[in-house]
Symmetry: D2
Subunit: 337 residues, 4 copies
Amino acid sequence: MIIVLKPKISRPQENAVLKEIKRLGYIPHIMRGVARTVIGAIGDERTHQSLETLTAWPQVETVMPVQKRYKLVSREAHPSNSVVHAGNVAIGGKKFQVMAGPCSVESEKQLMSTALAVQAAGATILRGGAFKPRTSPYEFQGLGEKGLKLLAKARRETGMPVITELLSEDHAEMVAEYADILQIGTRNAQNFQLLIAAAKTGKPVLLKRGMSMRIEEWMLAGEYVLSNENPNLLFCERGIRTFETYTRNTLDLSAIPIIKLESHCPVVVDPSQGAGRAELVSAMCKGAVAMGADALLVEVHPHPADAWSDGAQQVTPAAFARLMTELKPLITAVGRT
Amino acid sequence: MIIVLKPKISRPQENAVLKEIKRLGYIPHIMRGVARTVIGAIGDERTHQSLETLTAWPQVETVMPVQKRYKLVSREAHPSNSVVHAGNVAIGGKKFQVMAGPCSVESEKQLMSTALAVQAAGATILRGGAFKPRTSPYEFQGLGEKGLKLLAKARRETGMPVITELLSEDHAEMVAEYADILQIGTRNAQNFQLLIAAAKTGKPVLLKRGMSMRIEEWMLAGEYVLSNENPNLLFCERGIRTFETYTRNTLDLSAIPIIKLESHCPVVVDPSQGAGRAELVSAMCKGAVAMGADALLVEVHPHPADAWSDGAQQVTPAAFARLMTELKPLITAVGRT
Amino acid sequence: MIIVLKPKISRPQENAVLKEIKRLGYIPHIMRGVARTVIGAIGDERTHQSLETLTAWPQVETVMPVQKRYKLVSREAHPSNSVVHAGNVAIGGKKFQVMAGPCSVESEKQLMSTALAVQAAGATILRGGAFKPRTSPYEFQGLGEKGLKLLAKARRETGMPVITELLSEDHAEMVAEYADILQIGTRNAQNFQLLIAAAKTGKPVLLKRGMSMRIEEWMLAGEYVLSNENPNLLFCERGIRTFETYTRNTLDLSAIPIIKLESHCPVVVDPSQGAGRAELVSAMCKGAVAMGADALLVEVHPHPADAWSDGAQQVTPAAFARLMTELKPLITAVGRT
Amino acid sequence: MIIVLKPKISRPQENAVLKEIKRLGYIPHIMRGVARTVIGAIGDERTHQSLETLTAWPQVETVMPVQKRYKLVSREAHPSNSVVHAGNVAIGGKKFQVMAGPCSVESEKQLMSTALAVQAAGATILRGGAFKPRTSPYEFQGLGEKGLKLLAKARRETGMPVITELLSEDHAEMVAEYADILQIGTRNAQNFQLLIAAAKTGKPVLLKRGMSMRIEEWMLAGEYVLSNENPNLLFCERGIRTFETYTRNTLDLSAIPIIKLESHCPVVVDPSQGAGRAELVSAMCKGAVAMGADALLVEVHPHPADAWSDGAQQVTPAAFARLMTELKPLITAVGRT
């Protein structure tokens, strides 16, 4: 920790800060500069109490942490890339993976036709929502366990592992029974009780970035999974909230190289939510591949305009097949298969 | 709903849109403008399925909803101001209320000394966190039920009703047993399962605004409380996330008159989180009073630099007493007591 | 400057950093912490070249400045409040000032009727745009010099000093001839050539905050005025750009106490642009008064729906008179006249 | 234009709105819905005065434009891609172009060594700043005309056309004499006088996106160039301001497909400003290529840590050469040369 004192502080005021630093277990180290006195507080910031409370002291101008606050998700802790296994599929290895399927599971027919179509086009994991977090209580909230059963059936028939969203701590065991990957949605990205419940099932957890989550906060939310004995964490960028209104969210593709730099966990990109418009999905997928993502999560629906949720951002099976064809040269160009 | 077609659309493409609008239960109404054809879809947007899925159609440029999506929280539904009762305290009436206390309950001594001090200065409701959502899993997570028991004890001794945060659906009943108002924190503002669980306890629910929640989304989250048979909802502005880094969040005081315009529910302001710096808390409280807030929620700690969480933004009992004195002429100036 | 090295850096890599710090005129000071080595670089950050370029070095993790970069606008440089004089009006003193008038000058009749009405209601400075920066080239761009002449005439007839926007370096002298205060608009807040041209006229400069300007950047833009021999600077908060779409901008009233804390310059609040809706203007004005602003800048138009620009956010003379009456008790409550 | 009336409006109030719509030259068209009455105002929104002023009327809830406000930059106006020529280089055609060079021109040696190095690595246009907009008046402001002369010399010796920033209307002719492309920086993106001055030189104009500019505003700023008889406009995405602090700005790569969809003008990406960290530049360049950009603008400096401005985000000539090699397979994969 670095503590910057305000200008013209008396020696007793300075001593009070030094005493407090020692009381909290750090060794203070004074540097007298031209305009400010700066104190370095030496000690492990992750095991000692934070000194940020010193900001409340009238003689203190700022307190700046030196260490990063995340441990287990960091590359320092695990220098090589982690590979997460879901069913027979490995995410984070040389093979680029594509998760595809409808936003919401609506019926057996809708799910099965989509599953077969995306598999034929090259998808390796089936996505589909059974529990849907909806901004309004008057919108369709998902089929619930019935949807999970349909997903499990689609898995049996196609062999594809299944990813679906977990909304409630109370459902963790039930969802884990049917799904291969538990998805934590953007609105729950800092619902730490849900993260802990998901981690404890032992299943891989895909953690979507919160709408206004800084990279550091996202990594710390991931830390809730890894510190609960579950090493199978996937980060999923899906767009952040900005002032721009042309798209529903601003897909922050630079999160890919940043997470790769800071962490060992695989990175997935969900362009559907970022685009909010099916016609932009294709370009975003290409960018994600080029920038080093390990997998995509794409919403596909047999008849998007019919969809019970988020129809505007789902692509048709035909458009998805075209997308997969267009992605191939890029996947090769970045040295993946 | 208003559907704007792209320029130069063929008649069969247009007819397909009309057919879909009818299929979803609306009556279409065509207007041929100079550059675009616009279709009005007449029907109740809150009972019919949304037409926003039409955005996925190639012939459609935009779909614009006409109605507001919230019902029960809106002033249309309930033209006069709602008053919410917690213990013997009424929030939303002529009397301006102040909720104050420590960010986290740390010990009986810390809580009781703070409670007595804030009561002496004029606070009418005691706040204190027993379960704390922390960005990092390595930070202090609250005393849990032990903290709730201390709050209940403080209530007995001071007569002040108690507000505390609810973090987990599984704790709803337990927290409701000890507390008079359940607080839903900013990270859980769209944790709809938690909102439903809180609503079902019947206790008043204070809903903090999510970090990047638009007013409409906040109102819709509130709708989850009212539509679960609980009319006792308080909206609490606590700062939104912007590009500014001087303060931790940007307190959006304009939310006060907007909520007052759109809704009948009382508005509370929490300047502690918005300021992130105790020295700015006072000015923000004055602004909140002047702009029509019904209550304040202020973090007070006997020794802020010692606090186990968020020390930087807590004020001392002495500063709080000064603040209360400074607020008085403003409270009078806006015609409250 | 504080330089944090990455973990596990070799001694020669560390020495290279130390050598560079010395070469740039600072004295390095090493602190070896538990997880990182930190170097304090002692020297005046405002006269030496920045060390931030070290971030490009592979062995460096972060570089953190310790000093604030603004000098002349800071309270350290001038501890007491500055008072800026425009005509016979003093801004920043005990008397609260109100600048009011139409967004654009449209005609003599429109300007004169508004000027007389706002003066009767208590305004002391007349505002009106002669050159208008418009998002689209197809919108009304202002009456130009003809508008300036009308403003000068209104000043003669009412005795009120006049504030108007300066858009182009080439107009600086002409606008300064007619106006008492030069307004720099939000889109030009970092048009440094314009700031220099405005400063050189010697007239007071009102600097609106840029749409996404951090406090520090705003202060530094103000520094362009003061460092060009013009001490008459007014900061004007008018709303920042955020994700919220209910209002056109988010009025950041917390900027008032922050500027007061950091700087000696007066603070003006323009709620018209922040609200984008006349019905919210009143509450925002009250908040501004309560939080310590020195003046308001309010758009008033005899027939807002007729206005040639920004009609939605202008209030009628009658609404303005009501507003002035409502503000009085608040102005008294904060100890001003 | 679509005008939504508030619920329960009287017939005379409705008639007043209809009258005003007619007065402004539109033909009103009424639709009575379930909860609201909606009026379509038929007429060309780009030649008639806007109806948005109606928002100020008490009986009006919202006013929604139907048409896009930009004309000449839109794909509707010019369906095929525009190609912009600078010297012997065509931007927007099949060949992918790379503009590279130092942030600031510092000396002949620095510029020439960088120019030769980037040319050898495959760059086709030389960038370099002679006038620098700096957040603080105490930072290096560029070499001015001396820098322009060095750029002209580098052009003679390498044959590469030159791009440099224009800061002041007063310099437009001088800069146009030396440069092949005039760059308008992010802080001046809505400095309309500067855009007009740049357009009038007839030279191609590269318009960087403002820090918080919506796509529509950016297109409208471009409209200032095209409507001043200059068809040679390049849009340049360089990162927008968000809440994220890991990078200096958030590079919004989705702007590429959006601009391609809405406009015929070429799109350039400047990853240096978006990344703020040289180590992320490479990934961002790859994303830009994959998503359909026509050119890159990359800051290269022989010794980044020595640079007089923005050292942290400049790459070395060696890193640039590596980058160019890495980009090749991606450029081929998207069908360009």
